[in-house]
Subunit: 323 residues, 5 copies
């Protein structure tokens, strides 16, 4: 389904819900900026786009094949941008990455996506509010959209960071050996998030350092802002990865310490039991001449010495912290 | 064996199965693009190639010595490209890397390989279909061939990714200590795949950033597409490697946990058995005055206390999760 | 609250505690350098700043949203700088990072912060002392401020380094298994410190290597000095991280050795006890013909052989260092 | 000892075994290329070289002090190259690195080495065969020499790779704990090999990318070939290092698994023995009323229950794979 | 204390032990090179230096504050260089790093240090010997000094390398668990050495690659030589670090193996003892009908079966290498 909105930068008026057929007309008019949003596209839609905007067949193919790398590609007359909106969904906090394809031309923006993208509503709202900056054209609109997507990574990373703090508390508190599974799951999430951000950061870095800036000076500052947010997201991901690997080390170390404590304790108990059993063994010997056996309180004496030996060992092992 | 196909870019007609002897003639004709495919080459074939196309003896030697590094080398008048087609073969999913040598000139493409290359059929089919873009010359043909090879890495990596998911499930599910061997085997596969992709990525990066582009503007976009796929494959390999090392960590940690659980359990059982044996030992002592020995239900009492002690310990150890 | 100080570089006289309303007037006068310090800013303050100095709305937004990345951004007419002052506070040495936003223009410096920054007092004091270098303008003032902040990292790192030495001594001395928690806590501190320094180092590196220096030649040398200190802080952090990971390795290794020692000892004691118990077991057998049982000193003989066997084993195990 | 060979590139005739005194004369003649090979040099030889060719005293000193870094240094009028020939010698496959110093001038090549270098014979042979390319001068000769040395690394790495395959098979097959020593020894070999190759690769990379190529266009292609081989050797070393670290991980993991298996088995056997001993303990109690003691087949019954309990436990532990 | 030596490059005569007051005069004379060595400087000395040579107050401050980073800084008219002389001192081979500050001007060299620097004597000696190269000015003198310091790192690294060889031998030979402490101590030494070399290497790299060389062509070759030695030292440190981490791995692995061997042995002995005890337990049962008990050689038979069972188990466990 294609939804089209058009802004005239001179009159600062919006023409909403234009039909696709009008696009050619709208684009021809001086000062018009057209945003065509194609959701859940059919092959018919792709043909129309290719025809209307003259997109290169390679970029159309990239749109059709899902799971592209995040990227910014320069084609004659337009940029083709792929990026991913991230969200944690469901009770198990599954990471969902939703692909968004953007064609950015001089006076138009075409967005293509098969699943609903929350950032589109955000960008549309801001576009209507920022009409006083309308003269900065389609670049500003693409900034609003990309920035909305990139900024959405930060609360998500905060959430992951909180989980990691809980995890860490639980490791140094009441230890659960299942924490390893959670560590593993967060590691994978961070890996996927990193994969969907760092390529963009590198491309923006290159675009912004070019000799001839591709955006007018005023828009340039906005893309520097996006770049800044990209670095911030990427840095946060790297810091979280770093901390997660520390958490993993802590998990392994604490897990080892606890296990060692248990084994020391069990083996210490064995030692006590063996010592006590030895006394029983001694008085189980069948020698004819064993004076204790005939004592009136020999049995009580034996039981007492067992208790004494057992307690003495227990106290000693407690002191050296083996039990 | 040399198979030659020729496309006239003006008439857009193909001349199939030309004999090698015709090559000189075909190449001279304006607008002709010649593709000579040399499979299982003899030293006679190499001599003919060197003579007909004037290839430098160093590139011919590289063709003759197998196991070259993937690379793109610039020789006067032509490019010499080495790359590898990857396939998982046999029941054990052995990784097979098949070397393909490409000589790319202005109006010809020579492919040399000792084992059959699947991508050649794919490229040939597309070449016949894309005749409307025939005017982009030998560059487009080389794009079709290289892209077919690079794209074939992706399903292969998907397969490996699935194996890794299974492996991970099995590690957190019913643990098998043999998983380490599988991890090791995947690690080696990824190492070899990486080795056959990353050098190409680096070379393409350099070629595409040159001041003077070596391909005409229209073909340039195709090679940017190959470069994009190369990055995607390389990134996927790196992500898989990253995840595999996490899987390895998880394996070691879970393996350790399970072992610890077993040892705790066995040592706990030992402790129970020793405690019970101690009771038997006590009533095995030979003291003359041991009242219990003369009780009517002394034996039953002893057995019962053994059961009680054993059960009490079992319940306690179960509660602290040592058993 | 906005505090304003103004220095006239010609007369070298300071006008302290000017009211915000005077800023426009002060800025217009030739040779004046204005420092406006905004602490705990309200949205009203931001509006005034934007109006008076013409700051771009993106940089104002960065000021309003806390937790920016440390950075230096170039806006038309001014630089926007974000950096963090670090301090260890409280009995648990919690790391506090206090954000400071700086707007550096040709003849003014605006500092914005929501928590008190110690370096501001230091910089103000030095500014009053260094009036003989007043002709170097707002650049020198920003140098004094940034340098005061960066230099404050060094004593903090010295403190952490001392803690690590103590930690190391305790690991090789009387081992405490809780050291892992301290290692983890220092690791996190270093991670945060690194995050608040390295981005600045990279930006300064870029700024100082530019073809056209952005500072006059005389001020350049001061920023090179800040850069030098940034590298020193960053290097020290990296060295400490490196050493901490060695400390972690040492912790794990010593922890393992100590545990092994304990287990060897306990298992050795078990072996001794079992050997001695075996002798008791032998003389507990009920054979009719066992000459020892009838010996006068059979019992003493048995006890003695237990002692001898036990001691012999003990001495042997001591010799091979298993006990 | 100085051995001198001279090739006249016009007549393509060789003058073998010239005496050192003739060098000046030979060098003056148009079209002559002189190769002076200095083996086991005396300080007298160095003086002659310095005088005859005018070598800088720093490069002479580098020749005299062994264990230089592999490098290519540019001196006025000549290049000074240090590289190492590698060989595995003796029954223990000790790695021998033999230093070769090369002075490469416009029309001469001086090689200095204190131990015999195999590649010199190879290069000499090829030089005599390739007289049809003689017009490429001393550059081609240095190519032949350097290429012979670099190519010799590949069979050596193949040998190490085979050892590693054997090692890996043995780790997953009949495990030997001594494998760690072999892993360590290969690691050191790879470290030394890497150290003697990667600096050269980096220097060649720099030399070949220069704006003004230092070699004529025709020779350039040969040095690109050496560079390609250097990358191949360096890549192979890195791959082997990567695989060795995997092998190390596998060793540790398999070693851990085997140990765990043994400990589980031994502890399981202990448990069985303890259970059986408990039965013996029970019937060793001295209660007056123990009906079984008086049964005709009480003893056989006791022995049988021991066997039954022991077997039952054995079967159970076998089933859960603890034994 | 300031010691001043002056060399006239025309007459090649030295004026030794000039008093500080003469410096101005000496510097003015054409062709004079002045070396002022300031040891254990007072604040008075610093004032004199600043006045006489016009050093920037930032570089003077760096001199006064110890523990600067090794660096080369360009100030108007001179270079300010900080580097460290390294020595292993005392019976425990403590690493001592002694700071040396160098001011290198067109015709003077000022060295400032608070502890005696051995390299100063070496450089002074060579300066007097190399008078035939005196025309290369203060650059050559600084080369002699820096080179003397850098070259002194190599024997020190050789010493550390020998220690590491001993360590390695001891790990694979008679294992000492204290080796970990030694590994840790060497690790720290290498960390500090690396920190005092790599920054210099990076700065020299940058200085030597500059478009406009800062040294005359003839001196350039000397600084290339220093750079070469810096790389060699840095590479050696990196190699040693790499090997030390291998040594650490080997230590951990061998330590684990030895511990496992001990535990297997002890547990195996337990198993033997338990089996033998079981036999004693059986014949300790009180059944009325136990034929063996009445046999003439029942006791001997029991003892023999104990020996047989014990030996059989011992032989078996020896065979499977558990004992």
């Amino acid at each position: 389904m294609i939804t089209t909105v058009c802004l005239n930068t001179n009159t600062r008026e919006f023409a909403e819900n234009c039909i696709a057929a009008d696009i050619s007309e709208l684009r021809e008019e001086e000062g018009n900026i057209v945003w065509a949003d194609v959701s859940d596209p059919t092959s018919r839609d792709f043909e129309e786009l290719a025809e209307e905007f003259g997109f290169h067949h390679l970029s159309i193919e990239d749109c059709q094949n899902a799971h592209q790398r995040p990227k910014v590609e320069e084609y004659p007359g337009y940029y083709f941008i792929v990026l991913y909106e991230a969200e944690l969904v469901g009770p198990t906090d599954r990471l969902e990455l939703r692909e968004l394809n953007i064609f950015l031309g001089k006076n138009y923006l075409v967005t293509v996506h098969s699943r609903p993208i929350r950032a589109i509503a955000t960008a549309a709202r801001l576009w209507h509010e920022w009409t006083d900056r309308a003269d900065q054209g389609a670049g500003l609109l693409s900034y609003l959209l990309i920035d909305a997507i990139v900024d959405d990574y930060l609360p998500l990373l905060d959430l992951i960071s909180e989980r990691m703090d809980d995890l860490e508390d639980s490791i140094f508190g009441e230890f659960r050996s299942e924490a390893i599974q959670e560590i593993f799951s967060i590691k994978k999430k961070l890996l996927y998030l990193r994969r969907s951000i760092t390529p963009l950061r590198d491309v923006f870095n290159m675009l912004l350092r070019r000799e001839q800036p591709i955006f007018p000076r005023e828009t340039h500052v906005y893309f520097q802002d996006v770049f800044d947010h990209l670095i911030r997201v990427a840095d946060t991901i790297d810091t979280l990865r770093d901390m997660l690997s520390s958490t993993m080390d802590a998990y392994l170390s604490v897990s080892g310490n606890r296990m060692n404590q248990v084994m020391k304790r069990l083996t210490s108990i064995s030692t006590i039991l063996m010592s006590v059993t030895l006394i029983a063994g001694i008085y189980g010997m069948n020698f004819v001449f064993m004076p204790e056996l005939r004592w009136r309180f020999g049995y009580v004496f034996a039981l007492l010495s067992m208790v004494v030996v057992g307690l003495a060992l227990y106290v000693y092992l407690k002191k050296v912290k083996w039990i």
